[in-house]
């Protein structure tokens, strides 16, 4: 069984014990252990169950590529499913539970699936769609939903916090192994600003495990000296526990820093997502070892050969007592040698190649290890753990020659360079026949804004699997990146690496070569999603020729490990099944992130009170103190109504409306957009952007205006005030200020750059306070200051002066139909002005009203609301606003579009008013009118829908506006609105102006 060895372990601190639990059992590990190494040290080799067949799963790898050993970590606000034990550092108090089993890890009912794999073939999911029709909904979907996902979703809010960080560097190096460090040395010497990031807690990569001599120094000495040298220079920064997770356009890279996953606390953020802009990115991301597809290769105890020696060397942990190595290359012999030297048993090395006589096989033989060439594994024996291997010839069909007892199988099918980051942004790959792998093609890099490549690969990630060549490649990559980033790199001597030479590998995709179905159906490709050799062959047989289709059909590579171990093997099998060369089949697309990153890190700080900005008016705190019931209006929060004790919201709205119509009320209209437009061509410009004529507006006057887009559709409205011959103040909707400002600037900067016009968004410079109702003038007169009489300040005009000692600009405009002044005052004095109005208005029964009262009153007047009566497909003419569309102007935005036949049609949906048969029935918002008969889908023929609907306290009647097909010709018609099961509301089409059609009340 697996256990802690008495010696070894370069990254663990044997003095410091750390205790943690796995499925409730208390285990001890050492500081520096990963959860995987600590579990192995405690003899825990069964750690989970697979997705589809619930097969027992053990630890297979030692890094980010691990497909099997995923667990749920923590609890409550720190619960997180599907965490890799191989990248989780243990800490005191860590709790882990295994996943995807019931009732227990040891005994799992779901494993019944394992007995009936023929019922769950490739494409099972898609086949369930086909027939019988009822089965998907009633049988398969519930089952699939029940079994989907490995771990459970967290149920509580995440108790940690997260953040972003923006960094700018000349050279970003991803990977802190030999190649990354060598590249950093070279780039650093040039003076370039270098950031090197390493996903694990330790620098050194494979060099920390596989010894070599570098410039005559043992590799650990070289590592130590190199890191010290880099630490000593200011322009190079190294950060560990930070994964290069994605490369994007223009040298943009994402770094995923796990700040305190290894030592949770409540001060620092848990993860920090770095958004790095780099002139050049060096990917020194190494390579991943490939599994071999033989029967039973998923049984706990079958591991990657490199992982087996990582556990011995880095963590002082043996994966088992007796290890059979199965390989097609020389590198795996290092595992056998390491194990033997650690005093562990290696009964045999099975090498699929016909011969193996390089330095490493020779060393293994000299250590007394039995080496069998041309041999393969026919089948692994065992279920929850390996008990032995059945040996056969690689060339045959699996005739068993002997059985070797063992508890670990260390497999190596060769290595694949980690090309993900190179490929994220379009770097191309070549098929390297000799090493049977895809490597980056340096002549086809991802291109930056200037058309040159911005990613350079270094070391093994370039496809240089031998240490000597990898070092040369990495040093040169460091120099190239620095030079291309604009620095003078210094040509120095590249460190000379002496390591054992390796003989060529032999590509092995199926073991043995002629494996029959019985073996192929037990030979795993994707361990997490349970995809086997037989599944890929079935997909090919059923016509899935594209690798992307096969991937989705079989789910190969679609698990949380994104096929780091399975993809190359899978596409080789597909190529073989299709009788096509591997490069012709190609790879699936590499997409960021390289490995899963937390959702928290993507959200960053944007949660809780920082989730989304809330814009607050200058009167906001007063409103909050006066029981405002809030409503979101784009990013603003506005009072919907001010509810008094004992009132319902509805009663409050009615009270506010009645008080405004009969006395006087105050409204905070500060959120309205205000855009200053100034210049000799300002009037000309506004004639182009508004549908109506603005150039004829007199100084001191206001005019309601409409803005359409190029397609003729109405998108914003508001009152324009002419401040001077060359200066206008354009009011926009509350949600539209930024859009309209951007719209104006876009036309000025890109189309009409010859016009002499400047704009400025002054929305927030002013608090805008509306005093509304028959007593409005009395209140203002009581405030004292400028003349607000109808003579001095007529309807649709404005003035500049002072009210109550505060600089003020009252506009005589009305959205309620009442006598109304909208008074703009400097925002910082908005609250002071509001207070004075409330005080002066007390004797007149002054009270504030909210947006709902505003809405009801404007609907009573038949005023439209952008977003209610418009939806992006409505033109002014549809809304009876044709009077505001100039027929005299030569051009304005939307004019040409409105001439198109479709927009001229008489049966377009047009605005109408509606009065319900029963005055108390309020139509539901959005209710559809039907006209009898069915369409070809068997649905009722619909002729339009309700856009605004309220009960009007002023009229004592429900009122509504609607957009109805040919509505302007339906006056007096009774329309039918089905509003639910068997219920129908009938309403008569009327003019949409319900109240004070002459406008007498506002013009006093």
């Amino acid at each position: 069984m697996s256990t802690r060895l008495v010696a070894g372990g370069s990254v663990i601190d044997r003095e410091t014990l750390v205790s943690f639990t796995f499925n409730g059992k208390v285990f001890n590990g050492h500081k520096g252990d990963t959860l995987a190494s600590a579990l192995l040290a405690n003899g825990q080799t069964l750690v989970g169950r697979s997705f589809k067949y619930h097969r027992p799963r053990g630890i297979m790898a030692s890094g980010v590529e691990e497909p099997n050993a995923l667990v749920s970590l923590g609890d409550a606000g720190r619960f997180e499913p599907n965490q890799r034990t191989t990248t989780t550092e243990v800490f005191e108090g860590l709790t882990a539970t295994s996943q995807n089993h019931w009732p227990s890890l040891e005994f799992d009912i779901g494993a019944i699936n394992n007995k009936i794999p023929r019922l769950l073939p490739a494409g099972f999911y898609y086949k369930t769609f086909m027939k019988p029709q009822w089965a998907w909904k009633h049988l398969f979907e519930p089952i699939i939903r029940q079994s989907a996902g490995l771990g459970n979703a967290p149920k509580e809010a995440d108790s940690d916090r997260y953040e972003y960080f923006y960094a700018y560097v000349d050279v970003l190096i991803v990977g802190g192994g030999m190649a990354g460090l060598a590249a950093a040395l070279e780039a650093g010497k040039s003076g370039a600003k270098v950031l090197l990031i390493e996903q694990t807690a330790n620098l050194g990569g494979r060099l920390a495990v596989d010894d070599a001599l570098i410039d005559g120094r043992p590799s650990d000495v070289w590592l130590e000296q190199t890191i010290a040298e880099l630490d000593a220079v200011d322009n190079v920064t190294i950060r560990t526990r930070m994964m290069g997770s994605g490369v994007f356009d223009h040298g943009y890279a994402m770094g995923y820093e796990r700040i305190n996953d290894h030592a949770p606390d409540n001060t620092a953020p848990r993860h920090r997502l770095w958004r790095i802009r780099a002139k050049r990115i060096v990917t020194a991301t190494g390579a991943l070892e490939r599994p071999i597809a033989f029967a039973g290769n998923d049984i706990p105890g079958v591991m990657l050969a490199s992982a087996v020696r990582d556990y011995v060397s880095m963590f002082g942990v043996s994966a088992g007592d007796s290890t059979v190595v199965i390989t097609n290359n020389d590198d795996a012999y290092r595992t056998a040698i390491t194990l033997k030297k650690a005093g562990l048993d290696v009964p045999a090395i099975l090498d699929a190649r016909p011969e193996a006589n390089g330095p490493l096989p020779t060393e293994a033989r000299n250590l007394g290890i039995r080496v069998e060439t041309g041999k393969a594994i026919a089948s692994v024996k065992g279920y929850k753990c390996v008990s032995g291997v059945e040996v056969c010839d690689q060339a045959g069909e699996g005739t068993i020659l002997e059985t070797i007892p063992c508890d670990v199988v260390a497999m190596s099918g060769g290595w694949s360079p980690v090309v993900h980051l190179w490929s994220h942004c379009g770097g191309k790959l070549n098929w390297d026949e000799a090493n049977a792998m895809f490597s980056p093609d340096p002549t086809r890099p991802p291109l930056g804004a200037d058309g040159t490549g911005f990613v350079v690969t270094a070391g093994t990630a370039s496809g240089e699997l031998q240490a000597t060549a990898a070092m040369q490649n990495a040093s040169s990559a460091g120099r190239q990146a620095a030079t291309e980033a604009g620095f003078n790199s210094v040509d120095g001597a590249t460190p000379v690496v002496i390591a054992n030479d390796e003989d060529p590998m032999l590509p092995i995709w199926v073991m043995p070569q002629g494996a029959p179905y019985k073996l192929r159906s037990k030979s795993w490709l994707d361990f997490q999603n349970d995809v086997k050799v037989s599944d890929v062959r079935l997909a090919a047989q059923e016509g899935f020729e594209s690798v992307e289709h096969t991937k989705r059909y079989t789910t190969l590579g679609m698990a949380t490990d994104q096929g780091k171990l399975s993809n190359i093997n899978g596409l080789a099998i597909l190529a073989d099944s299709l009788n096509a060369p591997i490069p012709q089949v190609g790879t699936t697309t590499f997409r960021p992130p390289y490995a899963p990153i937390s959702l928290g890190s993507i959200a960053g700080e944007a949660r809780g009170k920082l989730f989304k900005p809330i814009r607050k008016s200058p009167i906001d705190s007063w409103q909050a103190e006066h029981n405002a019931i809030w409503e979101r209006v784009s990013d603003w929060r506005r009072p919907y109504t001010y509810r008094r004790d004992g009132e319902t919201t509805e009663q409050a709205v009615t009270r506010e409306i009645n008080n405004t119509r009969n006395g006087v009320s105050i409204l905070d209209a500060s959120t309205l957009g205000k855009i200053l437009v100034k210049g000799p061509d300002a009037a000309k410009f506004l004639d182009l952007v508004y549908t109506n004529m603005m150039s004829s507006l007199k100084v001191g006057k206001c005019r309601y205006g409409l803005m359409c887009n190029e397609n003729g559709f109405l998108f914003d409205d508001g009152v324009v005030a002419r401040l001077a011959e060359d200066e206008f103040l354009c009011h926009t909707t509350s949600g539209g200020s930024d859009t309209v400002h951007g719209w104006l600037e876009e036309w000025l900067q890109t189309e009409w750059w010859d016009l002499q016009v400047y704009t400025a968004n002054v929305t927030e410079q002013f608090a805008q306070i509306a005093v509304v109702g028959p007593n409005a003038r009395n209140v203002l007169e009581k405030l004292g200051g400028m003349d607000v009489s109808s003579e001095a300040l007529a309807f649709m005009s404005f003035g500049d002066g002072e009210l109550a000692g505060i600089q003020a600009r009252p506009f005589r405009i009305s959205f309620s139909g009442e006598l109304s002044y909208e008074i703009a005052v400097p925002a910082a004095q908005g609250q002071a002005f509001w207070d004075k109005v409330m005080e002066a208005g007390e004797e007149f029964g002054m009270m504030p009203y909210g947006t709902e009262a505003l809405h009801v009153m404007r609907a009573e007047k038949g005023f439209i609301m952008i977003g209610d009566e418009t939806d992006g497909t409505v033109i002014p003419q549809d809304l009876k606003l044709g009077w505001a569309v100039s027929k005299k102007k030569a051009d304005f935005i939307g004019k040409r579009a409105q001439e198109r036949s479709h927009l001229q049609r008489e049966d377009r949906k047009q605005l109408v008013g509606l009065l319900t048969e029963n005055p108390q029935d309020v139509l539901p918002d959005g209710a559809h009118a039907v006209e009898g008969g069915k369409n070809r889908y068997g649905q009722e023929n619909m002729i339009g829908h309700v856009t605004s609907t309220y009960f009007s306290p002023t009229l004592g009647h429900s009122i509504a506006m609607a957009l109805i097909k040919g509505g302007s010709k339906r006056m007096g018609e009774v329309l039918t609105f089905p509003v639910g099961k068997d219920r129908v509301i009938k309403a008569t089409v009327v003019d949409p102006v319900f109240y004070d059609k002459e406008g007498a009340r506002q013009n006093v």
């Binding site: 972003y164 923006y166 700018y168 944007a606 400097p826 910082a828 004095q829």
Partner: protein, 188 residues
């Protein structure tokens, strides 16, 4: 201007970095031909300094002037002086196409002081805030988190941030969160 109120009454947060609401500041948006003599004269007459170069802010005894775009400047002056200076510049620029407007009330302003101040901003602004690039007299018009903002440093250490008034309270919460003790990356 006894009625004038700023939003948080000068609230301050002491974390790894100190965040303080800076109070009312006079701000004037000035658009026009930045190469014209009248423009130079108008700026000099208001704040007493010459025009800043691209992405720079210049300060003098009477205020500061910041480059905002190829045809826009932001003048920082005493709050009470803003309207008077707007009128003054209008008359100096009367003969040429321009726009000058008091925007003091539209803004909230914060200062960040302490060694890690620039790292706090780098958590939300896609801007190179390293000492060598964002030094004395640097200004950027950008965003912080989800909010539009401009920020600058006059002395290379203390940072000043402005945003729209309506999101001032949100900005304060954002800056205080980013400035929490123990949360600086210690990279810049």
């Amino acid at each position: 201007m006894s009625n004038a109120a700023f939003i948080l009454n000068g609230a301050a947060f002491e974390g790894a970095v100190t965040v303080t609401e800076a109070g009312l500041r006079g701000m004037i948006t000035l658009r026009g031909d930045l190469g014209s003599e009248a423009m130079e004269k108008a700026v000099k007459a208001s704040v007493g300094v010459a025009l800043p170069k691209q992405r720079k802010i210049k300060s003098g005894k009477r205020g500061a002037v910041a480059w905002m775009s190829p045809d826009e400047l932001l003048l920082l002056v005493d709050y009470d002086q803003a309207d008077m200076l707007v009128a003054k510049m209008k008359s100096i620029l009367a003969e040429e196409h321009h726009l000058v407007v008091n925007v003091s009330d539209a803004r909230s302003m914060f200062t960040l002081s302490g060694a890690g101040a620039r790292e706090v901003l780098a958590k939300g602004a896609p801007v190179d805030l390293s000492h060598s690039v964002f030094g004395k007299g640097a200004i950027r018009r950008s965003r912080i988190g989800q909010i539009a903002a401009a920020f600058w440093t006059l002395d290379g250490e203390e940072l000043e941030v402005v945003c729209f008034r309506s999101v001032g309270a949100f900005m304060y919460d954002w800056l205080s969160t980013a400035a929490a003790k123990g949360s600086l990356p210690e990279y810049l």
